[in-house]
Assembly symmetry: C2
Homo-oligomer: 330 residues x 2
């Protein structure tokens, strides 16, 4: 294993120390392992908390800041955060208007966020949970029952975050988050596996000419292994799956997301193919984002996410955000 680390056991804690040093606009509790906006708690504002295993950066820590999350709870690499960590983050950001937990649908995450929500409720904090399960490649997978939460998490965090920032109430912020998830579908391809620091070797092996179609962000198996095909074919196959899974009867927000080891030049080439095929299929693109946002360590691969966007979602998508991983306007 070749990585820029000191000791596999200390990677997350030392990366958190680096985030703390790099971002004075954030406050990092290295011991409790959470990251909050430096101005937290904001009285009267609904707070958003997300989290999950590390290794998907910039998700979630890179999306803490005005217009997106109030807090992120990173677990160890590919490992759920623990309930007391989530509770501590929830208490640190609660400004009296309630807290929304944004949870990717993996069994460990779901259970630990649920327990944290119960503990927070016991302490008088109102909590709503938004479950993200946008990955339409498979039903049930290695670490979850139902569909996995992947690229749409970014869209939920951005759009619900904007609604909270402008003064939305707890039920409203949670509702728009759930709407975004329900309107979204994702599908990913892996060319190679990522390597966790603890394992020290790739999470799975692929022959030199094969790819994993429908892979999960922890390297979970997808629909099948298949031969590598031109990007145009892969894009069309993935979009066919997404377009069949849900209704996309109007403008969409498109995310072309790199899984960590794929160069931006390929992601832009992929976006060109997405734009061409969606035009053929009569699906208008309202907004788009191309880059590495929801990654799987150093996996070479990419995911496509479509969200059927209402005018309200587009308005909130366009709102300013000031986070390390996504920055726009003001």
């Amino acid at each position: 294993m070749k990585k820029f680390i000191n000791d596999p056991a200390d990677v997350v804690a030392q990366a958190l120390a680096g985030i703390a040093a790099a971002h004075p606009e954030l406050r990092v509790d290295v011991e409790e392992q959470y990251i909050v906006r430096a101005d937290a708690p904001r009285p009267g504002k609904v707070a958003l908390v997300s989290g999950g295993g590390s290794g998907h950066e910039p998700l979630h820590s890179g999306f803490v800041g005005p217009g997106m999350l109030d807090a992120a709870c990173p677990g160890e690499v590919f490992t759920s955060p623990v309930p007391y960590q989530i509770l501590a983050a929830t208490k640190a950001v609660d400004g009296g208007a309630g807290v929304v937990h944004i949870v990717k649908n993996y069994t460990g995450d779901v259970l630990n966020f649920q327990l944290a929500a119960e503990l927070a409720t016991d302490e008088g904090i109102s909590v709503e949970t938004v479950l993200v399960d946008d990955d339409v490649a498979v039903e049930d997978s290695t670490w979850t029952a139902g569909r996995r939460g992947t690229g749409a998490t970014l869209l939920v965090e951005k759009i619900a975050g904007a609604r909270a920032e402008e003064g939305g109430k707890l039920a409203e912020v949670a509702a728009i988050g759930r709407e975004v998830n329900a309107a979204s579908g994702s599908f990913a391809y892996a060319l190679t596996a990522g390597t966790t620091p603890a394992a020290g070797r790739p999470g799975f092996e692929l022959p030199a000419d094969e790819i994993e179609a429908g892979v999960g962000i922890h390297g979970e198996p997808g629909r099948r292994r298949e031969k590598l095909r031109p990007a145009r074919d892969l894009v069309r196959s993935a979009l066919d799956v997404i377009l069949d899974a849900k209704s996309f009867d109007g403008p969409v927000i498109v995310l072309v997301n790199g899984l960590g080891g794929t160069p931006l030049i390929e992601l832009y080439l992929v976006y060109g193919e997405v734009a061409e095929y969606l035009a053929e299929r009569g699906v208008p693109i309202a907004r788009r984002l191309v880059g590495n946002y929801v990654t799987s360590l150093d996996m070479a691969g990419m995911s496509l996410t479509l969200c059927r966007a209402t005018d309200e979602m587009i308005r909130l998508w366009d709102a300013p955000a000031r986070t390390p991983g996504l920055h726009r306007g003001a």
Copy 2:
């Protein structure tokens, strides 16, 4: 080779088509192969043009926009742009106040930009050239005489771009760009080589436990191959080289830059080590940036850049920029 492409010969053109589709705020001439701000030319504003081989994205195409470049000229992968391409871009953005060419120090780039500058001058456009040669790892290398241009290119484009945006004159914009380059030093490590679409295999081979210290952004050899060491040791060795090469007698801007295949979690861990060691060495950090900005396709690796920043440079660094690859403020 596993890549999301259609045909190795069409990668750059098809990625440009993707950029054009993704960014309505840019205008892409796919035939002449350049990218300009959609509002170009801006009368009375000094224009900045950069370019070089593709494969280093978001450099340069991702830095076109208000506050940074007016145009980028991408060559084929790891291949210099041609003089007529640079001339076309220069003419497309000239607003009558002159054009600054920002050129990384590789022999092909230098010659082709020089010829383009002569042709532009013949057509009545005033051109100043800022040469970037910040890589202190080696003198002379595979594709260049003197020091290579690497991470500091981003700093030059940001700071000179801000000076042009606020109305700086041609000589002033070029002067601050040269100052930034003179004040900067960089050093890179490769863990693995990148793969160009044309070659179809890694540019060099490294044993499983060895790294290239002082590698160039095209995989050029550095100072030596050595055994992989903890990130803390690698950071300290690289910073020792940089701190010895130039004077850093005051605040610095730090860039911790991924070379394409290194996860963000490692880059933040590295930044933590940089912050700790610079504190020990008495070098104050005024600003910092952590991420993948000047890449080498899918190379696993990272570079460190320090720039001894004057108050004026910091003021310009903080100015708004609205580009796909770097976005801040307004």
